[in-house]
Amino acid sequence: MNVASASIATETHWLFRKSSLQAMGVFLLVVSGSLLALAQDTRFVYLLVYVWFGLAYGILLQYGRFCMASAVRDLFAVKVPRMAVGVMIAVALYAVVAAIVTLAGFSTFHPNAMGWHIVVGAAIFGFGIVFTGGCASGSLYKAGEGNMNSMLVILAISFSQAVVVTASGWWDALVPQSWIDSAAAKDMPAELTITQGWFDIFTAGYMWDLKGSTTADVLGQSGAASILLYNTFLTAILPVILILIALYVFYYRKGYLRRSGKASPALRDELAGMWAMCTSSRNTALAGIGLGILAGLHMYVTGALREHYDVFNFGELLVAMGYTEGLSIQDTVFDPGYWYITTQEAQWGGWVMQKLGIDNMDSIFFGLDNGLPNPLLNAPGFMSIGIILGAAIMALSRREFKWKLPSWETAFFAIVGGTLMGIGARLAMGCNIGAFFATVTNGDPSGWVFLVGMVLGAYVGVKVFTWYMDWSDARKTSESGL
């Protein structure tokens, strides 16, 4: 491919362009908000860590057009491995930094419970992302580019999760009696009404009976060498190498050999081809490197702050600062300490529903685990907002920001797809970030199970989407001519 000319209008120096000034305005807004929070109480630095890492994630996501939905979707839809390669680069880097953070004793990571729920949830999630045009963090950065469809996706993810985790009545018929019996046998506070609400029963009667552990733990190994060998190399780096080889063989090799004119390639040529694949999209590769390193550093900084304040959870700091509303019955709030997307969005939806008079604190998800803090005190929630603002800064400074109104068609896809993403994310205990990216990089193999489910769902999603496009084009051939 040749790029004969790349003409970008440069009549005004970028510093004085309206969009650059707007980008600086957004940046100053974040700086002022941060200073205001610190003026209130310096312990808000804990929340601000989420804000600023979110901002950096948003900048890099927009810079690299880094969306995990496109990693699987574009592979099947248009046979482009660019994003899948970028994700693998990020996984490898995150795994290395996570190993250093773990060995330094600052890891905030907890493994996910391994079970069939991951495959089922991930498949529903993977199906949904084909229709929304982005994964959970992809939708956040696209919202920062002015895409209102993506804002609808975020709303749908928020409210569908909030409904799923608190719904009762006919929903309870979805779970088997054995789960209800198992849930009832757990010694839990009466106010949680643990045998009512299908998600409570699913959590207490099924999930709590499962085990989640890192590869080193499963093999009964401990110590620095074991963490590096089993968690970092075997669980993250080796699968990454194998997946990169598969992507090269199935999606890149043929075109590369044709372009380079190598009829009978030697191993050296194949390795050069793999390198060409990894570097073919410079922005994506750089974003992958940056995101991988930052995601690991994020764990380190939050872990160090927890040690500094001698807390396990932001809820304890909130109590110490005099904010006691919206905490769980354990005085905790959602505070993963690393990159995560979906749970805080469920809290936004749940908080709005609570303000509308719906009692949802009798659920395990909100009442026991994550709480329902005011969005102004929701630390991971600010990470999501940080991603939107970071992406807006980058998009504005590159003159790529544009308000994009949804059509009826795209709005329908955003709401239905976003709802499926919300349902899938809750069943699988996270999205492609919390249940895949953060897990495999920390030695928890459950993330690869999530990836398998997501790939299956996305594959079916692409088939259905392609069928829909052909059907809809056939109806309007005279208008579009395509």
Partner: protein, 83 residues
């Protein structure tokens, strides 16, 4: 906002997918390029930045030339010559 695909001159086509996010722009581009003859030029107008990276990779894989790029104010107009 509806997609439009029109012949604008002999061997020249225009595909406008403004208003669409992923995966519409890249999938419509793939379909449009399949309709073109070798040597034809496609003017592609889109406003979803992410699609650009995938479309560029598609062109590279299939040997199509990206012969011109006009960008600004959130919209992109690319000219692609089919191999």
């Amino acid at each position: 906002m509806a997609m439009s695909f029109n012949k604008i001159a002999d061997g020249e086509w225009e595909l406008n997918v403004c208003g669409y996010a992923c995966p519409h722009p890249q999938m419509y581009t793939k379909k449009a390029l399949q309709k073109l003859e070798s040597g034809d030029v496609l003017s592609l107008v889109f406003d979803n930045p992410s699609s650009g990276e995938s479309i560029m990779a598609m062109c590279e894989a299939e040997g199509n030339d990206l012969i011109d790029r006009q960008e600004g104010s959130g919209s992109f107009t690319w000219k692609i010559r089919k191999a």
